[in-house]
Amino acid sequence: MLDRMTYLGLPVLVTLGLHVLLLMLIMRLPSDSPRTVVAAAPKLVAIQATLVSAQNLKPKPKSTPKPVAAKPKPLATKPLATKPKPSSKPIPKSEPKAAEAPKVTAKPEVPALTEEQLAAFTRAEMAQALQTEAASEAGEQGTVTDTIAALIRLSVISRWTRPPSARNGMVAILAIQLVPTGDVVGVSVERSSGNVAFDSSAINAVQNAGRFPEVSQLKSAEFERDFRRFQIIFRPEDLRY
């Protein structure tokens, strides 16, 4: 009985494994990679220190500096990270990372974004970085998408006022529609958090941003692919509980 089980079970497992491998391969293919960008927090502290090259702006997969050291990055950002970048001002790649590392271990909490930090991280600087990036690279649309996604993220963060009933871990997903000028023309709740006040606060954050002007710098194909319709997932991690 046991023999038969292993005899039958093994091929099934092997097949399953092969399929999973295939799946991973498919998802890694560079052709559609930039679509899975999860533009989470660019580590503000690190960026503030050395905001010179666009490379630093590459969003980190997640802002939560959990003590887990090796977090799998979203697949989209991976190939970009390994690609050598012909930037005019090459900065040793390890530098910002190294600066970031001790921070992570020292502060296991989510760094709260103060308004000063946000202000320091100005739209102008980001836009400038974006331009140099756009100029330097034609093939790296993923990075442009990432940067614009990070800008949108910051813009929304700076306007998001959570109601006191909000709790860490609540999740609301909004579907956003833009026009090529960057104006928000549609906001709808794709998935409710179950808390109306929380959902409204998310909607208001986007509506109050109203326009993401950086989007207008995109080529039309890029705009259509990533920003005509996209989603914003609201999931607070910096609340008291």
């Binding site: 533009a39 989470a40 709260a112 974004l113 949108i152 929304v156 998001w160 509506q207 008291r240 509980y241």
Partner: protein, 438 residues
């Protein structure tokens, strides 16, 4: 045999996996931006002066009451009336673009009708989505117009924040005035939650201490020294009936009603030093809860009525302990710092407001029973007697300004602090009522 069954199953599985990979490819095609932080600035709201449909002038500026309620919560920033381009009182008169132009997320308008009763109608609009979010009305006696306004504020607050408002509630406090003759005069005062409309419930030359509320908000208990030694009294707010509950030798202190209203925890020293006792209010039967040579005092109920928190120096310094009524088990709750006392538990059973000493100064702090984290809320130095609003959002406490006792309040999230108007004298020992309207 098995193989013949498995084979099609495998095909199905394979098909399923391919389908899944296709689907996941589709769903991943859309960009998704994750937002996991916010700045939590107060939400701008325009409270437009309410239209008065009656004779003479409006008896109270209702919009002003609503506005200051919302501002005191710390979650809202008012739009100045001078910036308003119009004072609409009907939904059809609202031009959303005007309100967007002055960065108001919400507009609250309303009308007040005079009749045998006063009726307040209100409508709340979201200017970004350009929709009416909520509308309603409250009516009542003309002299209750302030309370009616607070009830409107409660409704608005709940709609916008997801938690009930606690504006239509009351405060109990003790005010002490020193007569020119040098003798102190004590008053037990009842006011609205914003400090307005103070009424003296009881007064005299003898000290009044530890006022507290029955869970239904109809009765209060306190300690009075009128018989020259402390005794616990209960008083019905509706009938005015007053009754002495204890008259023991030594301390009779800190009466607190159980959440079911049937019993009262208190501190008595009749058997030696101060310990916690439980009185059955129907039979007047006393049960001794703690028995320790240290001082056990300042009991407060957990909202489920199954445990009490209290202050004890059994560990050498005053700290908060927990007493389980079923088992009599006592556990220490606070460990941060050398002094934590006078706990009050929020209705969520999680946040505990207390007095915390650090650097020789007494601050109001909140201890989270789940994370066991202590957060200091106040920066003043002589803060005491915290009491939590029934919705858990604000802590009212007594403090000193220019060596005069005043009432202040602070949001539990530490956001906003404000002082309540005190008419005269030193104000002490505030006690926030439970919900009165439900």
């Amino acid at each position: 045999m098995h193989r013949r069954i498995k084979q099609p199953a495998l095909y199905a599985l394979r098909f399923f996996i391919v389908l899944l990979s296709l689907l996941s490819g589709l769903s991943h095609a859309q960009l998704r931006i994750e937002v996991n932080q916010g700045v939590d600035n107060p939400t701008p709201i325009a409270v437009v002066p309410f239209a008065w449909q009656g004779g003479g002038t409006i008896p109270e500026d209702i919009a002003q009451i609503l506005e200051s309620d919302l501002v005191r919560s710390g979650q809202f920033a008012p739009v100045s009336r001078r910036d308003m381009l119009s004072y609409p009182s009907r939904g059809s008169d609202i031009y959303f673009r005007d309100w967007r132009a002055i960065n108001s997320d919400y507009v609250l308008i309303g009308r007040v009708f005079e009749g045998p009763e006063i009726r307040i109608e209100y409508q709340l609009f979201d200017t970004t989505r350009q929709i009416e979010i909520t509308a309603g009305s409250f009516s009542g006696a003309a002299q209750e117009i302030r309370m009616l306004s607070h009830r409107v504020a409660d409704a608005i607050y709940e709609k916008l924040t997801g938690i009930p408002g606690a504006f239509a509630t009351r405060l109990l406090y003790v005010s002490v005035t020193r007569n020119p003759t040098g003798k102190d005069f004590y008053r037990l005062v009842l006011s609205d939650s914003d400090g307005a409309r103070p009424i003296v419930l009881f007064e005299g030359r003898d000290p009044i201490l530890s006022p507290s509320w029955s869970p239904d908000g109809n009765e209060i208990a306190y300690v009075s020294f009128e018989t020259s030694r402390p005794a616990i009294y209960r008083q019905n707010l509706r009938t005015g009936a007053r009754e002495q509950l204890t008259n023991f030798k030594g301390l009779n202190n800190s009466p607190v009603w159980s959440p079911d209203g049937n019993s009262m925890a208190m501190v008595l020293s009749k058997d030696g030093n101060p310990d916690l006792y439980l009185m059955n209010l129907a039979s007047r039967e006393l049960t001794r809860l703690t028995r320790h040579y240290a001082i056990d005092t300042e009991p407060t109920w957990m909202p489920d009525g199954k445990a009490l928190l209290f202050t004890s120096d059994r560990g050498g310094r005053p700290q908060i302990y927990r007493y389980e009524l079923l088992t009599g088990k006592i556990t220490r709750v606070t460990f941060e710092g050398t002094y934590n006392a006078r706990a009050r538990v929020a209705q969520d059973g999680r946040n505990v407001a207390l007095v915390h000493q650090s650097g020789g100064q007494y601050h109001i702090a909140v201890h989270d029973l789940v994370t066991r984290k202590l957060t200091v809320l106040t920066a003043t130095s002589l803060d005491e007697s915290p009491s939590i609003a029934p919705n858990g959002s604000v802590v009212v406490y007594a403090t000193k300004r220019d060596s005069v006792g005043i009432l202040s309040a602070v949001a539990v999230d530490g956001g906003v602090r404000f002082s309540l108007p005190a008419r005269d004298g030193n104000v002490q020992e505030p006690a926030w009522s439970p919900y009165i309207y439900q």
